[in-house]
């Protein structure tokens, strides 16, 4: 019974924790501009994140060490520096977007300008990381994130034309839109980057160490990933579907978080909006905690500093200092007056650019019997992994030219 509860909690947390500001914004933008024509990218990205998250979780559970520690040891300092630089910079950009997302969600709840919420949000993230136990912060934000299920329910309450909605899944750019093919592919890369954000893998791998996973926990880890993440992706798809049903026919292209919530107001009124805003706050706050921790994990694991929430802060001071520094930098960027939604859009595209540097080392380490023993990747996993690396490489190479050609999707 206790085991079943742990599995259910893990799955629910994975569902609720799957969506972050990148998914909220990108899914909504894509739904309002292209309908469900890009749903296939979401499916592809979810398969990819499941593949690499379970791989890095397995590395951590079998070797007892987080992925980054092994990457440096196995691939040498030079390649590890490239991996670290790319991952850390993307983490900073993602953290900026997530803190901005909390502020935008709080603005929806309070009418108070997001500029006043930025410092409050950054401080709240720090204090929770400093004071709250790892399992509590992970489970509470994940479970509250389940409030976003309101989008999945709203799809039915909005009474869509199901055949039209279904036919969008098989179409290239929707007939309702005048979007160019380059813009379509730009958002395909953005959606792929949002689904495969690197911090999720580092958080999953380091979280396995925090929770002291052993090889016997691999089955539960697989269930969390292979059931929780795809169900979480359905929430992203629902956000896109709501935008496709309500905003696309009206010619409203989403550029702000409040527009993401308008279909919920149409379906359920004020009560639905309150639930959706709770989901936004939980999703962005939970992701902020994960990205901040990931920033500390990557730096500390690379430099060999003591790290982890399981240690008292005094015994992992540089790990905590790295997280505080990341929060200060993210806050500094936001206080320059940049639009958090634009930061989010840029962060998911840059995330796509950096993906090969994140995922290639994981594939190499997961094939090394020195660390993995009998738990090295099987043939099928390697074939699928290599196919995904090819896709990741293409997305990474195409991202910047598409960004220039489309004026960042304008």
């Amino acid at each position: 019974m206790k085991g079943l509860f742990a599995v259910a909690l893990g799955v629910l947390t994975a569902i609720g924790g799957f969506v972050d500001i990148g998914d909220l914004v990108t899914s909504s933008v894509v739904g309002s501009r292209f309908g469900l024509t890009l749903a296939w990218v979401l499916v592809l990205g979810t398969v990819g994140i499941c593949l690499f998250a379970q791989m890095s979780g397995r590395v951590a559970a079998v070797s007892g060490r987080a992925t980054f520690e092994i990457i440096r040891e196995r691939l040498g300092a030079r390649l590890a520096v490239a991996n670290l630089s790319a991952s850390f910079l993307i983490n900073l950009l993602t953290l900026t977007a997530e803190i901005g997302g909390i502020a935008l969600a709080m603005q929806l709840a309070s009418s108070i300008s997001p500029g006043l919420w930025f410092p409050v949000a950054a401080f709240a993230v720090w204090i929770v990381i400093w004071r709250v136990r790892f399992s509590i912060l992970e489970n509470v934000t994940g479970l509250l994130g389940l409030a976003l299920v309101v989008f999945a329910v709203a799809v039915f309450f909005l009474h869509p034309d199901w055949s039209a909605l279904g036919s969008q899944l098989l179409q290239q750019p929707s007939p309702h839109t005048d979007e160019s093919p380059a813009t379509y592919w730009y958002y395909a890369v953005a959606l792929f980057g949002a689904a495969m954000t690197p911090y999720e893998v580092f958080f999953f791998s380091s979280g396995a160490i925090e929770e002291k996973w052993k090889p016997k926990d691999l089955a539960q880890s697989r269930v969390n990933v292979l059931v929780g993440f795809p169900l979480g992706a359905i929430l992203s798809l629902s956000i896109a579907a709501c935008a496709a049903i309500v905003l696309l026919p009206k010619g409203i292209a989403v550029t702000s978080l409040y527009e993401t919530a308008l279909p919920i107001a149409q379906a359920f009124g004020k009560i639905g909006l309150i639930v959706a805003i709770l989901g936004f706050v939980a999703a962005t706050f939970g992701a902020s905690l994960e990205v901040t921790l990931s920033s500390g994990y990557t730096l500390a694991q690379f430099f060999g500093w003591p790290w982890g929430k399981f240690r008292r802060p005094a015994h992992a001071s540089r790990f905590h200092a790295a997280m505080i520094l990341s929060l200060v930098v993210a806050l500094g960027i936001l206080l320059t007056g940049v639009d958090p939604v634009q930061v989010t859009e840029i962060s998911v595209v840059f995330s796509a650019i950096a993906l090969p540097l994140t995922y290639l080392p994981i594939l190499i380490v997961a094939n090394d019997p020195k660390y993995m023993g009998d738990h090295v990747n099987g043939r099928v996993t390697n074939v699928v992994g290599l196919i995904f690396l090819g896709i990741i490489l293409v997305a990474s190479i195409a991202a910047i030219p598409l960004m220039i050609v489309t004026g960042a999707g304008a």
């Binding site: 309070s110 009418s111 308008l262």
Partner: protein, 149 residues
């Protein structure tokens, strides 16, 4: 010989100037079309916010956020269009688009005042919603015309 070279250089210069002119023209048209499209989407979004509020389906904080966001975005587009260099036919389009964006700004500002008042006038909000939808249609049509030119 020298005259032939000078003639070729002159022809090249004229062609380059012509191409640069065309390119500047196309770029101005594209930027104007984009601004008109963005303003149309913003006006529709503000209209949807007003419509949802009329049906009592919106929290006051979401209504405030929606209208102030629309006001900011329309101000940004108005500024971009006003500072755009455009001549001839494009100049006339620019003036019409700018007038429509400014009208939309006025409607959003007026809606902000009405919604902030103690006794919200449903009729006034409905009229503003219809005006915003009409302006959005005009801006969209202008954006499409510019794209097709």
């Amino acid at each position: 010989m020298i005259f032939r070279r000078l003639a070729i250089a002159a022809v090249c210069a004229v062609l380059a100037a012509g191409l640069a002119g065309c390119s500047a023209d196309a770029s101005a048209r594209s930027a104007l079309s984009q601004s008109a499209g963005t303003a149309a989407s913003t006006a529709r979004s503000a209209g949807l916010v007003l419509g949802l509020d009329q049906g009592d389906r919106l929290l006051p904080s979401v209504m405030d956020t929606g209208l102030s966001d629309a006001a900011d975005r329309l101000a940004t587009e108005a500024q971009a269009v006003a500072t755009m260099t455009a001549t001839g036919g494009i100049g006339a389009s620019r003036d019409r688009i700018l007038a429509d964006i400014r009208d939309a700004q006025d409607e959003v500002a007026s809606a902000q005042r009405v919604s902030a008042a103690a006794n919200t006038s449903a009729a006034a909000l409905d009229r503003q919603r219809r005006t915003l939808d009409r302006l959005a249609q005009q801006l969209d049509a202008a954006a499409k015309r510019l794209e097709q030119q």
